[in-house]
């Protein structure tokens, strides 16, 4: 079982976590990305996320399918927010369950790393000084 979603509403982590449950699973690892009050030395006031929804959905599903193929998982899920977020809000949630913790940790890390590299979602940071801008990390596209 794997599920990816883009959500304009706050992420219901409890419901997502329950969907990972199975009596065959002994380990559950979750990752939450939170809106932090600073980025590269600047004081952040809030964020906005925009997605190319159709392609983000397809690419997010591919990432989860890859995780299920590479690691011995019971279930995996990921939800990414769009829209306006305040400090402390959950921007992204990843959860996996597995028989053993090695697979659970590795898969959870794999999913968030790939999501951040590949899924067409963009962050616009608003700073306390009134400035704002889209974040386009300077790395070679893959």
């Amino acid at each position: 079982m794997s599920r990816f979603a883009i959500s304009a509403a706050p992420i219901d982590t409890q419901a997502l976590r329950r969907a990972l449950e199975s009596h065959g699973a002994g380990a559950c690892v979750t990752f939450e990305g939170w809106v932090r009050d600073h980025h590269q030395g600047r004081a952040v006031r809030g964020l906005e996320y925009e997605a190319y929804a159709a392609l983000a959905q397809a690419e997010g599903e591919r990432v989860l399918a890859e995780a299920c193929a590479r690691f011995d998982l019971v279930a995996a899920a990921c939800v990414h927010r769009t829209g306006t977020l305040a400090l402390g809000d959950i921007a992204v949630w990843v959860g996996v369950s597995a028989g053993h913790r090695d697979a659970a940790f590795s898969a959870c890390r794999y999913v968030i790393d790939e999501i951040k590299q590949r899924v067409p979602i963009w962050k616009r940071e608003s700073y306390v000084d009134g400035d704002a801008g889209w974040i386009h990390p300077d790395r070679t596209p893959r």
């Binding site: 392609l55 067409p120 963009w122 386009h136 990390p137």
Partner: protein, 79 residues
């Protein structure tokens, strides 16, 4: 031919629109980006972008056809 072009993030801000229909003779995605970059003054060179054609990632030399939907994707920053 007519192509629907989607813009996101800083490209959308620079183009002033999220979507536009362009009439072009560009042979492929790369040529179309060059044309639109000149028109809108996009700061990002093609080698920092990825391109998508009809909702899937596509190489820069993918040929265009009338009615296609194209997106130029700045470096992503989700997560």
């Amino acid at each position: 031919m007519k192509i629907d072009v989607l813009y996101f993030a800083s490209l959308r801000d620079a183009a002033g629109v999220a979507r536009e229909r362009v009439d072009t003779g560009a042979a492929d995605l790369g040529a179309l980006y060059d044309e639109l970059r000149a028109r809108h003054g996009f700061a990002l060179p093609a080698d920092r972008l990825r391109a998508a054609l009809d909702g899937e990632f596509a190489p820069w030399d993918a040929p265009l056809r009338d009615g296609a939907e194209v997106a130029f994707l700045p470096p992503v920053s989700g997560g």
